[in-house]
């Protein structure tokens, strides 16, 4: 498997998220205070770009780089997991002002204390794996 193309896409992603300041604790705080359109603008335009692209992929039945049809699986149906999991995630997102992408990007940029957040996030993922069968989904 050629990983280089994924490293390049990731590299662009890291630069864009940093230069958009979506990795900034301050921007997340400002967003949740409704004091700037910046983050809402980023998220909205990203979704609209994706929406147009996915419609083109589906209507023209485009093929991927290996010649297979591009199939984007639907998310599983459910209620509890999305509401409760979503709220827990949101609490963490606003608490440390970073979501998983930015955690990795900030660590790469040399903000070592974000390593604590990453450690917590890996541990939280582990905890979910441990208790998953006891949770409503």
């Amino acid at each position: 498997m050629n990983l280089l193309r994924y490293i390049i896409v990731g590299f662009i992603f890291g630069i864009v998220l940093t230069k958009a300041e979506a990795v900034s604790w301050y921007r997340i705080y400002e967003m949740f205070q409704f004091q700037s359109f910046h983050m809402y603008g980023i998220i909205t335009v990203a979704i609209l770009t994706g929406l147009v692209g996915i419609q083109i992929i589906k209507r023209k039945q485009l093929k991927d780089i290996d010649g297979n049809p591009i199939v984007i699986q639907d998310k599983e149906k459910g209620n509890m997991r999305y509401w409760i999991g979503g709220i827990l995630f949101g609490l963490g997102w606003a608490m440390v002002g970073a979501c998983p992408g930015p955690i990795f990007i900030l660590l790469g940029a040399g903000f070592w204390s974000v390593g604590l957040v990453l450690f917590g996030a890996v541990f939280g993922t582990f905890l979910y794996g441990l208790v998953k069968d006891k949770l409503p989904h």
Partner: protein, 185 residues
Amino acid sequence: MEFISQTWHWAISGFLIGMVMLILNYFGKVFGMSSNLRSLCAMTGIGKKVPFFDWDWKSQRWNLAVVAGAMIGGFVAVHFMSDASNVTLNPKTVEQLATLNIEAPNGKLLPESVFGTAALQSPKMIFILLLGGVLIGFGSRYAGGCTSGHAISGLSNLQLPSLKAVIGFFIGGLLMAHFILPLIF
């Protein structure tokens, strides 16, 4: 070169993030960052004891490569593409932060008072960073995705489950930002 070092406009940034997702679709993959946390767990071999991590993380190596690239991208952007004009917040936000004893950004991405070496002398700050991480890790796996997987990939594919998750993200985020952060800072 000013357009590179200043804050990138939200429209350009949003478009590029959407393109990153579409390029990964073209590579036959789905954009989502939090599943890398599951890979990191699975890599330790814990799958022998916890079945959720008994999965083929090697098939997800491509996503770890995206992470590696993103880390290099973050390094390059912070060290070679930044200037003091960055992170210009709403003046109201800056005032509000001062009441929480958090300093104005002045070009910095993260507040020293939360992420700086001095802040990490405080057990409270260490606890906040760890607990925030735990909520992110637990919540994103429970919800089956994070901002990239649900807000960007899911909503652009018109997925109702993703809409529920994203509404949840904002309920949790607003509760934290308006009611809990003022208590803990």
